[in-house]
């Protein structure tokens, strides 16, 4: 197939494409699959020109190398469908692929996305199309990333199975020959191009400064289509970075978006959920458990309050994802004991009560629970590059990779709760005595105490971009060692009167 030969050129074309100055879309790669499509340009009736375009098309199919700068002509492929076809394409782009889609369908779907985005981004001037539904932009971006993720996972699975069992050799061959299909550069290129075309970052930044965003919109940014696609591409990027294991960059992506109930993503429940899930997860992987809990809490409370208004199918998927999020909440609470909101607390006890108790007890018995919950609740991590089909032993499931990093953190922390439960009982304590209770030597206990103390110092977000934060003591138990003597001090929370006062005042009327 032709794709192999094009691999190197398309690579530099893609990188060229995502520079700010040249937001050219150049993600199309496999024109051979589009042969079913008519080649007639939309608003063109000249035969001469049509022939020239057809020639150009043929050239591209047999294309091996070259500049490829003339994107203006390439666009004919994507414009080739009539307005009705376009509506069908728009619809299709937001529709999930069927579960048992063949590898050809998946690759074909990739090409269709490329064509569609190419058409939207690189037509002369903004395209004027009516979107099928108000949430279309989110659905498209969401489905696009989902297919990217599932394709990478599938590719990984084939490579892994290759080491042990017989796999479909044809599929391996197709995957080998299409290393750039659903490539991470293409996917990022699409998202970044949509963001740049719509100048959404500039608009959001202006809004943040309480300015009118209109002067920053440019030719494209004022149109709802571009605005929405750009906006949801930011949310999409958050997810992609998370899937690739770049948690700091994931949070950085949201610099221009303010996380609050008025934000645009909050109007689409699925987007709202996805945003907080990925923000919370990224915080968790950055060891900022208090911030992670805050994100999870916010969205879980929202879901529990609005569940009566949610519609059938969408609600089912949200409910399933909520369960995953509760597992993450359980993990964070085990790391960082906190008082939760009553609704969340009740639901958590109901769903993961036993697991939480085991994690809070700590020790080696807790490790399998952490592992089980992490596996159940983590994003479906992917590897950005195709697996090595020739050296199967090098292929490791990316989920195992992230799990092992996470478990290191768990192991370092697993005695924290045991130590804490004892310290709570005393104001001063001798190390050797406590070591005797815990059946360890003084040396080990001293290390546990140091670890626990460091862990209680956490970066916590107060205001501004998500990566910012202050180091605070995130623990209700503080202690210091004076030689072999431990001084323990407890942080007490005073009674809260305001709520009570206000509630009773309203009752009076």
């Amino acid at each position: 197939m032709h794709n192999c030969t094009r691999a190197t050129t398309s690579f530099c074309r893609v990188t060229r494409g995502i520079r700010p100055s040249t937001p050219n879309m150049s993600v199309r790669q496999a024109p051979a699959y589009q042969q079913a499509q008519p080649e007639r340009p939309l608003d063109d009736d000249s035969d001469v020109e049509e022939e020239a375009l057809a020639n150009d098309y043929r050239q591209q199919v047999g294309y091996t190398d070259g500049e490829g700068e003339d994107y203006g002509l390439e666009r004919t492929d994507s414009l080739s469908s009539g307005p009705q076809d376009l509506q069908a394409q728009l619809q299709a782009a937001a529709q999930p692929l069927e579960y048992q889609a063949t590898i050809e369908t998946k690759i074909q779907s990739y090409d269709q996305y490329c064509n569609l985005f190419h058409f939207i981004l690189n037509s002369e001037g903004p395209v004027d199309i009516e979107v099928p539904s108000p949430f279309w932009a989110w659905d498209v971006v969401d489905e696009f990333i989902y297919q990217f993720q599932s394709f990478c996972s599938y590719r990984q699975k084939v490579a892994l199975q290759q080491a042990t069992t017989q796999v479909n050799e044809e599929d391996v061959a197709v995957l080998r020959e299409n290393p750039n299909t659903w490539g991470c550069y293409s996917v990022l290129n699409v998202l970044y191009s949509l963001i740049q075309r719509s100048q959404i970052s500039e608009q959001l930044a202006a809004r943040k400064r309480n300015e009118d965003p209109a002067p920053y919109m440019g030719e494209y940014g004022g149109r709802p289509l571009y605005q929405m696609l750009g906006y949801f591409s930011i949310i999409g990027l958050l997810r992609v970075h998370c899937l690739l294991g770049d948690f700091a960059l994931a949070l950085k992506t949201l610099d221009d978006i303010e996380l609050n109930k008025k934000a645009m993503f909050a109007r689409v429940t699925a987007a709202n959920f996805s945003t907080y899930y990925h923000v919370g997860f990224s915080y968790m992987m950055m060891h900022r458990y208090a911030d992670a809990l805050r994100a999870f809490n916010h969205i879980l409370i929202y879901i529990s309050r609005t569940k009566n208004f949610q519609k059938g199918q969408q609600y089912d998927s949200i409910a399933k994802k909520s369960d995953q999020m509760y597992a993450l909440v359980a993990i964070c609470v085990a790391f960082h004991p906190t008082r939760l909101d009553d609704t969340i607390h009740t639901a958590l006890r109901e769903k993961y009560g036993e697991q939480l108790a085991r994690m809070q007890r700590g020790g080696p018995e807790a490790l399998p629970v952490f592992e089980e919950l992490f596996r159940a609740a983590c994003p479906k991590f992917i590897s950005p590059t195709p697996p090595d089909f020739d050296n199967p032993q090098l292929n490791v499931d990316p989920i195992e990779h992230h799990l092992s990093i996470f478990m290191k953190e768990v192991k370092n922390n697993m005695f924290a709760s045991t130590v804490r439960s004892y310290l709570k009982l005393y104001t001063t304590m001798d190390i050797t005595k406590l070591a005797g209770f815990l059946e360890v030597d003084a040396e080990t206990l001293r290390s546990w105490l140091l670890v626990n103390k460091q862990r209680s110092r956490q970066v916590r977000h107060t205001e501004g971009p998500l990566l910012e934060g202050e180091i605070v003591s995130a623990n209700d138990l503080d202690y210091a060692m004076q030689g072999d003597l431990i001084h323990v001090a407890e942080q007490k929370v005073g009674r809260k009167f305001t709520e009570y006062f206000l509630r009773n005042c309203t009752r009076m009327y």
Binding site: T15, I18, R19, P20, C184, Y185, L188, Y192, L244, G245, D246, F247, A248, L251, K252, M285, M286, H287, R288, P384, T385, Q393, N395, V396, D397, P398, E400, H401, S404, I405, K408, E409, R446, S447, L450, V451, Q454, R455, V459, G464, L467, E468, G469, D478, Y479, A480, M481, Q482, G483, V488, A489, Q491, K492, V493, G494, F497, T498, L502, T506, Y509
Partner: protein, 241 residues
Amino acid sequence: MAAFDFAIDRPENIEAILNGLDRYNPETTATFQEYVAQQCENQTYDCYANLALLKLYQFNPHLARDGTITNILAKALTVFPSADFSLCLSLLPVYTLVPAQNGVPPASGSLAEAVQHLSKLHDQLTSAGYADFWNTFEGDDLYADLVADVQGFEEVMKVRIAVVVSQCMQEVQRDVLEGWLNVSGAKFDHFVSEVCGWKIDGATVRVPLNKENEARSTLVRENVKFDQFGRLIKRAYEQPA
């Protein structure tokens, strides 16, 4: 504390790359590599930029340089117990960390070997086994090679450990601290009194009180804002009882 993506010594050109799409451009790999070398040399540190380089390697495995990766990891060790080391690991090729299916240890001189070795140091540091850390570090010649480019690695690690100690302890036995810092005798006296500014009193070392090692009980009080009463006041105003 400043934001995670901020580094005080970051040159302007790096800042520009990080904020633009050039952070994905393989051509910037060389610039980032140079910057890592600079950080090793000048004892500065910029995790956010290093992660960007690891991401470039992640996307373009053929460009990856093992030496630079180990330098980045060694630099990340010097800021324990932060999450930096874990964040770097997340972007490494998957085969470096998870033991191969057949249980064969990684080949000598391979990236996997280096990563797993440094990872062991990291585990010991974050579980506060500082004496074990030094034993491991000095027990294998490979470690000296792995951190060779990082100027003053051992010195920085001593200071970092001392910082942790100052946050948790008011007094510590001399022999314990000697083990943790891996120095003894006159050198120990010098480090503790000159570099840290602590007092040696016979067999104990006294750490001056600071905000962290005081262990004082506190009472968290409710923070009442006027806004909370807004509705109540409005209501009282609109329909007087």
